[in-house]
Amino acid sequence: MTTSTVTPPAAGTRQGATHHRGSRIEHNRQRWGWFFLTPFAVIFLVFLVAPLGYAFWMSLHTKTLAAGESFTGIANYQRAFSDPLFLEGLLRVGKFVAVMVPIQIGVALAAALVLDTLATRLSKFSRLMIFAPYAIPGMIGALMWGFLYSPRFGPASDLFELVGATAPNFLGTGTVFGSLVNIVTWQWSGYYMIIIFAALRGIDPAIYEAARIDGATGWQTAVRIKVPMIASALVMVVIFSLIGTLQFFTEPAVLRTVAPGAIPADYTPNMYAFSLAFAYSQFNYASTIAFALGIVVFVFSYVFLYLTRKKSGLK
């Protein structure tokens, strides 16, 4: 990151110096820039900007089963932000953020710090194993956990029987929250761990040596030196995790097939948008919910980045 922030001014200076003499060459260069940008730009416009624009246009219209379609402006947005189902869903993903993000980052950071200090063959193997769940597609992971949680096929009832207890129902109203947190932590911690680990590897070992000479213990080195030095990576990982959790969809949607009572169709805002569009045929209102969620995600991310601007290097 530091290198990339240093380079542009240098390039800019050179550009400025050669501007008059080489304007023709510059012009040609810019042409080539656009030329190389075209494939991306086309895909970006056709598959991202255009659908988003269309969805936004749809969100400004209202179509009901009985009354047909009409332009209603922001009425849908007023409805969305007073829709108890949407707000409950938001509150629920809010709780997931509060619980899941710290757990995931905590596990990832702890694992990365431990692996960073070890240099044995075991550490390479452990790193791979912690990362492995991320290599499993989300759908498959959730399906697999659905079986593990199953009272009949899962190992829980056998394990609890060994100590003479009855296994809890992992898919009940009260427990499904924890079960979902477990799946996501299992799946994503390894990915965050790799990012943090890579950041740790980028630190100059001379700093550790200096710390050691100054008498810092391993714990002090980790907390006082390593963590502050990888703060920008941590901020990035938290942002990933925050956005992912606010858009929570795959895991609850898959578990819903085995626990439709405990996970209603509007469990998270994204699931609500999905069922509105594809189960209840309310494409317009579904677009509104999707955009409303987008606004919330943007606000959350912005606030977080603002609060951590000193740490992230994104001033």
Partner: protein, 463 residues
């Protein structure tokens, strides 16, 4: 802007490269389910050349069909072999909800729907209200009326309009484990009172399972149980599509739900979610002594693994409410409808009628797919009534149970937003079996949610 020729030539090359990339990427498809979920992704298309079956007569016009019947390819092959002037191009677009999602998206997109589509009777009004189905009365389908039972016909019609051709039905009966009832010395119940008592007796005698299961996501099954008491929650007429009568919270429905709430509280029935792996295994491994089933239930049972080897299954009529006229109920069953996107509605209507319009096709339908025919020439044939089922050790289950159930079924009116109704029902029943509300509370919350929804959708709601 770009003056010199070499650049222009290269620019042409870019366009080609760009298009190539676009083509590759769009082929990958599948979004990541993020904020743009509402943007709609177009129908999956039903163009010719994507048929699952082989076309026998190449120059005949083709009619595309979506259906998920078991062994349907044989039925399609039979149709195509026996028709020179029209050929079926069949696609399996998913079962039930999956197919409806694809169809619904195709309706919204304005293209991509097939000509003829398999729909359960319960979703017909969901699609008629979106003008997605063709009224078949213009194409002579009305002449078929006396080829079907009254209940089956009323499920596909609305006033003079006919929205589909009935195919198979789901008259309900009670499939039970004779070996379990014999082992614990319990009589097979014929009324719901006896059913509750039998559940208690089985439990007292040391049976570790449950007499049956009460799935909170039972959807049409739960509807049927309440309908048996005379519950008619919806009044809806496609001729006046903006009006709907909603009368969900009735004394009859309360009585039925309280009955099941009681069985759940006493631990006599389980409350596993239906159609999960757990439920499927419990059906056949002796966890449930009774499977309250539709006529397609035996076929479903036979497809499940991990079955008890010593199981002896028998079929009996569905229990009745004491002191009331015996009432027959229905769970599921399907029809063929012609979509508004059909290129040739007349030809499509003919296909919809003729797919299951011969003895040969029904031989496949009954023998291979275990369907229950609604077409009277087969339904009322001796061969069907006296058919012996190996799974039931030779019992003639149609004559014993399902034929009476089918002829006594009066029909049922579903809501034009049935998916929403089912989702709400599941949520309220789940709250009930978890002990958060009682039967009365569940029903009143259920009704309120539907009235609110219908009002929000622009309906005039009456009782």
């Amino acid at each position: 802007m770009l003056g010199n020729t070499p650049v222009r030539r290269r620019r042409g090359a870019t366009a080609v490269v760009g298009l190539g990339l676009v083509a590759t990427l769009s082929a990958c498809g599948g979004g990541d389910g993020t904020a743009e979920a509402g943007a709609g992704s177009g129908g999956s298309g039903a163009s010719s050349g994507s048929c699952t079956n082989s076309i026998k007569v190449d120059d005949a016009p083709q009619v595309s069909v979506w259906a998920w019947y078991p062994a349907f390819e044989q039925v399609v092959d039979h149709f195509n072999d026996t028709h020179d002037d029209v050929q079926i191009c069949w696609t399996n677009a998913g079962q039930g909800a999956d197919e409806y999602t694809a169809f619904s998206t195709a309706i919204e997109a304005g293209s991509g729907a097939p000509d003829v589509i398999m729909l359960e009777a319960e979703v017909l009004s969901t699609f008629t209200i979106r003008d997605a189905l063709v009224d078949l009365s213009e194409y002579g389908v009305g002449d078929l009326e006396d080829q079907f039972t009254e209940g089956a016909w009323s499920d596909v019609t609305n006033g003079d309009a006919i929205y589909a051709v009935p195919v198979d039905g789901g008259p309900m009966g009670m499939l039970y484990r004779e070996d379990i009832f014999t082992e614990y010395g319990v009589e097979v119940p014929t009324t719901w009172e006896e059913f509750a008592a039998a559940g208690q007796q089985l439990k007292d005698a040391g049976y570790e399972g449950y007499i049956t299961n009460f799935p909170t996501n039972g959807n049409a099954f739960i509807h049927a149980l309440m309908a048996q008491k005379g519950w008619a929650p919806f009044t809806y007429d496609a001729a006046a599509p903006t009006e709907i009568g909603i009368d969900v919270d009735t004394p009859e429905a309360q009585e039925v739900l309280s009955y099941w709430e009681g069985l759940v509280d006493q631990g006599l029935v389980s409350t596993d979610e239906a159609f999960t792996a757990d439920y499927n295994t419990s059906l056949v491994d002796g966890t449930y002594a009774v499977y309250l089933a539709a006529a397609w239930g035996p076929g479903y049972l036979q497809g499940l693994s991990d079955a008890d080897e010593g199981a002896t299954w028998r079929a009996a009529p569905i229990p009745q409410w004491e002191g009331e006229e015996p009432t027959q109920i229905n769970w599921g069953g399907s029809t063929f409808a012609v979509t508004a996107q059909a290129d040739d509605p007349e030809l499509s209507a003919r296909v919809a009628q003729e797919i299951f319009g011969t003895d040969e096709s029904w031989e496949i339908g009954i023998g291979e797919a275990a369907l229950f025919p609604l077409w009277r020439p087969v339904l009322e044939s001796d061969g069907f009534a006296s058919r012996e089922y190996e799974f039931f050790d030779g019992q003639q289950i149609q004559k014993d149970v399902f034929l009476d159930a089918a002829s006594g079924y009066p029909g049922f009116t579903f809501a034009p937003f049935q998916t929403y109704v089912y989702d709400q029902q599941t949520q309220q029943l789940f709250a009930m079996v978890e002990g958060q509300v009682d039967a009365a509370g569940a029903l009143s919350a259920f009704e309120k949610s539907l009235v609110d929804y219908a009002t929000g959708q622009g309906f005039t709601v009456t009782e």
